[in-house]
């Protein structure tokens, strides 16, 4: 058994009475007392997550752009200006999802952020694909990452960043990030997140992270565990790798069709041929939101039954703290209409099928 890895903020979590769990080989805080309270803080004010277990990569070299245009399903050619970000799947030749990631265009090349549990696999895959090209992949494990999220997140974070950065941070558009100082300095602030709220993801040198974390606490940003991160992202209808998609699933069946750049038709990204064949043959499954307005909680792995159509499965399910009832993400037969039934601990229970997200900026959004 290997010892779980810890982030530069581990001691900060212990000091805040975190309940620590193993997450993809990392010792991470699941909550600091109450997951529900933490969820509500992010919806109403400002909370912060240690996401230093995620992996930051810088991709440079003369062929960096053409490399990424072949590597991922979305097209980095769409990144029209420095700082702009895009979300994409990185696919196998069979058209299944190796990982989902964010790419930023920077003055030195590209910055890519990948999931914690998949980082080693991702890097090995990227190195293999980069062979023979003028591409360098720099793994920035010396960086920590803190996500500050909530309606008051940007305002509160701006109280503790360098004064001369404030105007630039406040001017960031959604899905845009910016490196501050030199690349080696390591500070990079982006208006991105995983909660359905406004906020920032801040990459910074590991040795500066504890002090910055404490500064954020001092201006009223609460530490939030990975438990609330999961209920927040699920309310926001966002996929989680290893649950809502993985290497057995096509992005077309996992609600990621919008992340595939089909045009220009001659961009031959990995997985393209398989996806085109799948699209031509018809996609059998689709991703939807499920709503259970009665009692009980929908959970990952529960079977969804659609009379006369077939069966599906819940890929993420939870009690929604904002809505006060359960919601879920499910993969179900494409022909399914507006209702289905879920096998809830032995009882077939009616659920409604809705378009996600469930919650955006603190408010219910589905009908």
């Amino acid at each position: 058994m290997t010892t779980p890895k810890t982030t530069p903020l581990y001691d900060c979590h212990l000091a805040a009475n975190a309940k620590i769990v193993d997450f993809a080989g990392w010792s991470m805080p699941i909550h600091y007392g109450s997951q529900l309270k933490e969820h509500e803080i992010v919806r109403a004010d400002a909370g912060m997550f240690d996401v230093s277990h995620m992996c930051v990569l810088d991709i440079t070299g003369a062929d960096a752009k053409s490399f990424l245009r072949g590597l991922i399903a979305n097209d980095v050619e769409r990144l029209a200006f420095e700082g702009k970000a895009l979300y994409s799947g990185m696919l196998t030749p069979e058209g299944t999802v190796i990982d989902d990631l964010i790419v930023y265009l920077t003055h030195y090349g590209y910055r890519v952020v990948v999931n914690a549990g998949t980082a080693d696999k991702d890097i090995a895959w990227m190195l293999k694909q980069a062979q023979g090209q003028d591409v360098q992949i720099h793994v920035r494990r010396e960086l920590a990452m803190i996500a500050v999220q909530g309606p008051n997140a940007i305002e509160k974070a701006c109280k503790v960043i360098h004064e001369e950065w404030e105007a630039t941070v406040k001017a960031l558009k959604v899905f845009q990030g910016f490196p501050f100082g030199t690349v080696e300095d390591g500070w990079f602030i982006a208006r991105t997140g995983y909660t359905g709220e406004d906020g920032l993801e801040i990459m910074l040198p590991a040795e500066e992270a504890p002090l910055f974390w404490k500064a954020l606490i001092s201006v009223g940003v609460a530490p939030i565990g990975l438990g609330a991160r999961d209920t927040l992202r699920l309310e926001a209808g966002m996929n989680l790798y290893g649950h809502d998609m993985d290497e057995t699933i096509s992005p077309l069946e996992a609600g990621m069709g919008w992340t595939i750049a089909w045009e220009p038709a001659d961009r031959d990204f990995i997985g393209r041929k398989a996806l085109e064949a799948q699209r031509a043959a018809g996609v059998a499954m689709k991703q939807v939101g499920l709503v259970l307005e009665g009692r009980g909680v929908l959970r990952e792995g529960q079977i969804v039954e659609v009379a006369g159509v077939g069966k599906g499965i819940i890929t993420s399910g939870t009690f929604s703290p904002t809505l006060k009832h359960s919601v879920a993400i499910a993969r179900i037969p494409a022909a399914t209409g507006e209702t289905a039934q879920v096998d809830l601990r032995g009882t077939l229970t009616d659920v409604r099928i809705v378009k996600m997200p469930f919650v955006r900026n603190g408010k219910k959004v589905f009908n």
């Binding site: 909550h31 109450s34 997951q35 529900l36 438990g227 009692r295 009980g296 909680v297 009690f319 703290p321």
Partner: protein
């Protein structure tokens, strides 16, 4: 975190506590240790008054943000009362597991069975605190 284990109660290893009342009925709930393991509790399902429960039979369900967990009848008996307040405010199970968050009360088939159940000291040892 240290669990609260009142000395005057009896315990079973499925994490229910029992209290013998003056009228001979037995009140049952889940322990502080159980609520801590479950995390924030969002739904509670209770048996119905009049149900005849066998020992170790499923008597209800606790759903937390994390997981669903069965609640067992630690002893056989007839359900004589359930805690409606807990159904409408399941978070009581987190905040007051031995008080306001009692689950149900049974008229035991054989009250002497209680003598064989775990004491607070034995339960503390069982959960390793």
């Amino acid at each position: 975190m240290m669990s609260n284990i009142p000395a005057e109660l009896k315990y079973v290893n499925s994490h229910e506590w029992l209290r013998l009342e003056a009228d001979g009925t037995v009140t049952i709930g889940i322990t502080d240790h159980a609520q801590e393991l479950l995390g924030d509790i969002v739904f509670v399902e209770l048996p119905q008054v009049g149900d005849e429960l066998a020992a170790e039979a499923t008597a209800g369900v606790v759903e937390s943000v994390k997981a669903a967990s069965d609640v067992y009848a630690p002893i056989a008996g007839e359900v004589v009362a359930i805690n409606d307040e807990l159904t409408s405010a399941p978070e009581l199970a987190n905040s007051d597991p031995y008080g306001a968050a009692w689950f149900f009360r049974v008229k035991p088939a054989d009250a002497s069975v209680l003598d064989g159940l775990m004491t607070a000291e034995q339960y503390a040892k069982e959960i390793g605190v």
